[in-house]
Each structure stands twice: as C-alpha cells, then as structure tokens.
C-alpha cells in the first residue's frame, strides 16, 4: 500500500475518531484473494479522503461461521469480546466488505450490547456517490457484459439488492441479470459455515451450478460483493477452464480499476 492504514488505537492516541471503522473481516485480512478486495476498498476511501480506521490486531472473527455451525458459545465469546473493544473506542459507524460480518454486526450484536450503524461497502459507496464525494466513470468497463451474483447475506438476509447494482450501472457496463437473482438468488455454496467443510454428497457442487448459470450469459466479469462468493465463483470459473476469459471481481475492485487506482 502506498499510504498508511491507521488503526483505531492510533486515532485514539491522537484523541480523534475517524468517520468510519472499516471492519476487514478474517477473509479480508488473511485470504490472499480477499486481501485484494480489502486494498481496493482502502484505495477508494483514501482517494476521496474518507477518514477511516481498522481495528488491526484488535479485530476478531465476528463469530458468524461458529454461530451458523451451531456453536453459540464460541459465537458469543467472539461477539462479547468484539463488543467490548468497539464500545471502548465508542465506535458509531462500521463499514465492511463482508456480508457475513455485516449481517452479524448489524443484526446479532445489538441484543448483546453492541449498537452501531453497520453498512456494507456497496451501501457506503452508494451514499458517498449520492453525496457527490465519489465520482465514477466507466473507464475500462464501458459496454462490457457484467453479471452480478447476489450474496445471500446481503440480499435475502438483509434486503439489499440495489446498492451493488447502482454502482455497477455507473460503470456504463452492460449489466445482465441471471434468472436466479435478487430475492431468488442462488447461494454460492459457502454460507452457513459450508466454506470450511467439504459439501455433503450430491450430483454437483453448488458453486459449479451457480457458475454454470453465470457463464451461460458469456459475461466478461462476474461481479461479487462477498469474499466467500468470490472464492466460490473463482473456483467455479476455473472448473470450466474459463479463467482467462472471465474475471471474478468484487464491485470495489471494479470501481478501483475504473479509476485506475
């Protein structure tokens, strides 16, 4: 990174608080593919001058995969620890590029004492655009075919379908919708802790079914809004040997590329 990422601790030492806390998430912190999404998002925020901080070493897993696997103990251990940290910094607003972190922080933390305004990165960027702070021009994606795969935990789980689409439309790309989109979107196969285990026996893997559907539109890009969807769709595209023709990219990566960041 050609600029410094500041932590909440650093802001606190300066006696200041940032506009927003960027919740990076485990995938965004450790997974090589997802780290690119993290960086792209930071570049955009940095370029338009949004003051943001991360928790860095003080961040823990939100507990989402443990909870959905059925382990309420581990989930609440994570949640209560995180809430203690977040409340100590008096965090008001959180943005995250992971719909699973987004859902857990937004819906499951309040009854445990963690009340914050939580937004998904596509919602955050949409607001910035409406406020005139973020300007997007088509650039490299003008006229190219893009299809968007709805993350279950952003879409059905929280009813957000428009923010990612609005950003994609600003790229002047040709947005094609899969038959199973929005409320009818098909899961990538990673949710509910499936990411961390082999799938049960069946005819095919869910990500293959989903990628097949996406590829049937012959898009240049399959756009995602979740690091787990990204992994699953990338694997799917590789399965069909289409990885040289079709890119799987998070929406912020597309925006960063359009801006040549």
């Amino acid at each position: 990174m050609d600029f410094t990422i500041k932590t909440m601790a650093e802001y606190a030492m300066e006696g200041k608080s940032p506009e927003v806390l960027f919740w990076v998430g485990c995938a965004g912190s450790f997974d090589d593919r997802a780290k690119k999404i993290t960086k792209a998002f930071c570049k955009i925020l940095n370029k338009i001058g949004v003051e943001f901080a991360v928790l860095g070493q003080e961040e823990s897993c939100t507990g989402d995969p443990a909870k959905r696997a059925g382990n309420e103990f581990v989930f609440q251990m994570m949640a209560l620890t995180n809430i203690e940290v977040l409340n100590a910094y008096e965090v008001k607003k959180i943005v995250t590029a992971c719909p699973h972190c987004f859902n857990t922080l937004k819906n499951e933390y309040p009854s445990l004492g963690g009340n914050y305004e939580v937004v998904h990165h596509t919602q955050f960027l949409k607001t910035l655009m409406e406020e005139g702070r973020l300007k997007i021009e088509g650039g490299a994606f003008k006229g190219k075919k893009i299809t968007f795969h709805d993350p279950c935990y952003l879409g059905r789980a929280n009813g957000e379908y428009e923010a990612p689409r609005m950003l994609l439309e600003k790229l002047d790309a040709e947005l094609v919708e899969m038959k199973r989109c929005k409320t009818n979107g098909l899961c990538c196969g990673a949710g509910g802790a499936q990411m961390f285990k082999e799938p049960e026996k069946g005819n095919k893997d869910i990500n293959i079914e989903r990628t097949e559907e996406a590829l049937s539109f012959e898009p240049k890009v399959i756009a995602t809004g979740c690091p787990f969807c990204n992994t699953m769709m990338t694997d799917g595209v590789k399965h069909f040997n289409k990885n040289t023709e079709v890119a799987v990219k998070d929406i912020v990566e597309l925006l960063a590329e359009a801006e040549d960041l």
Partner: protein, 441 residues
C-alpha cells in the same frame, strides 16, 4: 315424521362440528408441547402481514400459473362457504333457499350467479392442478419424497373438491329446471347450470329432479362435513393454519438468528474478572435450559410446531434449495413434513398413555439425519419461497445447535474451524497478530 330430515341434519351437523373441534383441540395440545416463544409484539405489523400474505395471497402469485389457479380455488372456497350458512338454515328449519328472503330478489340473483361462476373457476383450477400433479411432471410435485400418502392426500383433496362442485351444479340445475316448470319458487340465477347442464336435465321427470336436487344438497352438506374432518389428517390443514402461521411469522431480518440468553450469562461470567466462580446461582438465574438446541419436537418452539402443521407440501422451498438442487439429501419441505410426522406420533403416544411415555425415538436421527442438517447453507431461499412464511431453516439451525453444543458431533472440519475461531479469532489457523499484514504487503 316430517321433522325427521331436520333431526338427522342436526345430528350430523353437531357430530361433524364436534369431531372437528376435537381435532383442533388435539392440534392445539400438540403445538403446546413446544417451547414458548414470545411472538405477540408488533401487533399491527402482524395483522398486516397476515392480511397481505394469507388473505391477499401475495406470495402465491410469484409463480403465476399455480398462483392464479390457487386464487380461483381460494376465492371460490371462501365465497362458497357463505352457501354453508344457507345450507344450515335450510337444513335446520326446512326452508328452501333461505338467503333469497334476506338478500332480496335482485341481490340473490347476483349472489347465486357469482357462486356459479366461482364454482366453475374452482373446477377449472382443480382439474388443471390434477393434471399438473399427475401427468405434467412439475418436478417439485413429483419428487420421491411425496410418494405414498402425501401424493394420495393431494389427489383426494382435488377429487373431493371436484365432487363437491359437481354436486353444487347438479343441485342448481335440478332446482332451476323445477323452477322453470313452476314447481319451485323462482329464486336465484344460474348462468352455468342453466346453460350447460339444463339441456340434459330437462328430459328428467319431476320426481327424479326433486330427488336429484335433494340428493345433491345432502351430498354437498355431508361432503363439507367430511372434508372439514378430513383436514386433520391432511396437508390441507393449511387452509386454516396459514392464518396463525403468517400472524406469528418471524418479522426480523432473515439473517438475524436468535442469541441464546442462557449462553450470554455464562460467557459474561467467564469474562468478568470479578466474578466468583464458586458463588451459588442467584434466584433469578435458577432457570437453566434443559438443553441447548433441539433433538426432539419438545425442544422446538411452538411456532415451529405450528409451521409443521401448516405446511401444504407444495415444495416451493425445496425447488429453490441450493443443496437440494445439487442432489444433496436436504429438502426443507421434508424437514417440516418429518417434524409433523414426529409431532403426530408423540400426539398418538399421549392419546394412548395419557402423557408422553418415552418411545426411544427422537426427531433427530430417527426422522431427520445429520447429513440433511449439515447440507444447509442457511441461504434463506426456502423461507423466501414459502407462500405462508414458514421457517424450516430455524428448525435446521436449532438441530445443528444440539449436534454441536450437546453432542459435539459436528463434522471434523467444522470442529477445526471452531477451534481456530476460539483460539486464533479467525476460522483459519492464522495468528491474530498478523491481522494487519495486508496493509504492508
């Protein structure tokens, strides 16, 4: 002797409704075997949801063909039941077409004509449903999990509805022909019967027409009583329970899974450096849950059990389930069907023994297998698809909780993930101290 009809009618009526009330009581008792859950908040929103989803059928029309046909049958069913009022009064007091005296000539004509048109729509709906289900091969309606009773049940419902409507037309036609002959007072207008069936009936003798009219009337009446009591054994219970099910539906965001309060207390105690680990539990903490998660129907909440009774096995949930689509064993519909099967088994056990006597069976393993439970991606496609807002996902989730927290029976890879979260604060084996390394790459 002239009152004998009315007496038989009264006996049938009381017996029919009495039996039905007894069935409903049993259902109510069984549902109360579940854990209590507070879903009496936000009443305005609940009434609105019920009006929109159950009465307004807002989610049915998402699949237009099935939706519109269902709407025919639904509206027909409701309005034709107004006819039941007339039948009861006529039957009890020996009147003929009692409502004509209440409604007045013009409006009674309109009323009977509407009923006829709706009855025809019901017939059309029922016939197409029968063809779709048995010959056309809609996948969700022909899946293996429906073989046996569920398939017969569905067909019986359609056949009974068809027969009831036919009796209705027969009654009207005979009545109309007799009216034309001046043998019965002229009440009502019958556009369908007089056009399509009257030409056949006009050849019949007066006596036979009187007999036909009465026979069809009785058939219609007994048929309704039979149908009502059949509901208890049928997936068709949804015509009643769709209403409470939508009223008690989860109004929270679909992604919000409940937090177990009992666990919160434990963790807070664990994290509090000043807590006395040997302290006796206070009065207010005395209530410890018997177990975490659900292994049998007693551990599910009452709304989940109500859901099991309300499911009409349409399979819209299963047809959109990513696990099911890709050939895994999970079928959300089957989760609800098996929950109901087990609940009824427990109910029969109670009927027989007075209270539940352990039968060595559980919902988990004996009905629902681990393989099904672990195939779920918690994507909520099933809950989105359900036309009456049932929540099979919540049952899957509670049963996973039991597997993990009571039995430590998660798949090995998930155990590894959970250990990682616990020890490294990430599902993978990375060091928490490296969490910001990406910033310096």
């Amino acid at each position: 002797m002239q009152y004998i009809d009315n007496i038989i009618f009264l006996i049938l009526l009381v017996a029919g409704f009495g039996l039905f009330a007894k069935s409903l009581q049993k259902i109510y008792r069984n549902i109360r075997l579940g854990r209590e859950i507070n879903r009496n908040d936000r009443k305005g929103e609940r009434w609105e949801t019920m009006a929109r989803v159950a009465m307004g059928q807002s989610k049915m029309v998402k699949r237009p063909v099935a939706g519109i046909l269902h709407l025919f049958v639904y509206v027909g069913f409701i309005i034709i039941n107004i006819e039941l009022i007339e039948i009861i009064v006529d039957g009890l007091f020996g009147t003929h077409r009692f409502l004509s005296s209440v409604f007045g000539h013009g409006f009674y004509n309109f009323f009977t004509a509407t009923l006829e048109v709706l009855a025809l729509l019901v017939v059309i709906g029922v016939v197409i449903f029968f063809i779709r289900r048995n010959f056309y091969g809609v996948k969700r309606l022909t899946m293996k999990e429906l073989f046996g009773w569920p398939k017969h049940d569905a067909n019986w419902i359609l056949i009974i509805e068809f027969a009831l409507m036919m009796a209705f037309f027969k009654m009207n036609t005979a009545d109309w022909v007799l009216q034309q002959r001046g043998l019965l007072p002229e009440h009502g207008s019958f556009p369908i019967s007089s056009t399509f069936l009257a030409p056949i009936f006009s050849n019949f003798s007066d006596g036979f027409l009187f007999f036909t009219e009465k026979a069809a009337w009785w058939f219609h009446f007994v048929g309704i009583l039979f149908f009502m009591n059949y509901l208890y054994y049928s997936k068709h219970l949804h015509i009643i329970l769709a209403f409470p099910s939508t009223w008690y539906a989860n109004l929270e965001k679909k992604g919000k899974f409940n937090n177990l309060e009992s666990v919160t207390k434990e963790i807070k105690l664990m994290m509090d450096p000043n807590a006395d680990p040997y302290a006796a539990p206070g009065e207010e903490e005395a209530e410890v849950p018997s177990k975490f998660g659900a292994e049998d129907i007693f551990d599910l909440n009452q709304v989940q059990l109500l859901n099991a009774y309300s499911c009409t096995e349409c399979g819209r949930c299963t047809s959109v389930c990513p696990a099911n689509i890709t050939g895994k064993k999970l079928s959300p519909r089957l989760i609800l069907m098996k929950t109901r099967d087990r609940l009824e088994e427990v109910g029969r056990n109670i009927d027989k023994n007075g209270s539940f006597v352990d039968d060595g069976k559980k919902l988990l393993n004996d009905y629902i297998t681990k393989e099904e439970l672990w195939a779920c991606t918690t994507c909520n496609a099933c809950t989105e698809a359900c036309p009456v807002l049932l929540d099979p996902l919540s049952i899957i989730f509670e049963m996973r909780r039991f597997l993990v927290m009571e039995q430590s029976a998660a798949p090995q890879e998930l155990n590894l993930m959970m250990t990682n979260v616990e020890n490294n604060a990430a599902p993978w084996q990375y060091n928490q101290a490296d969490r910001l390394n990406w910033a310096n790459d």
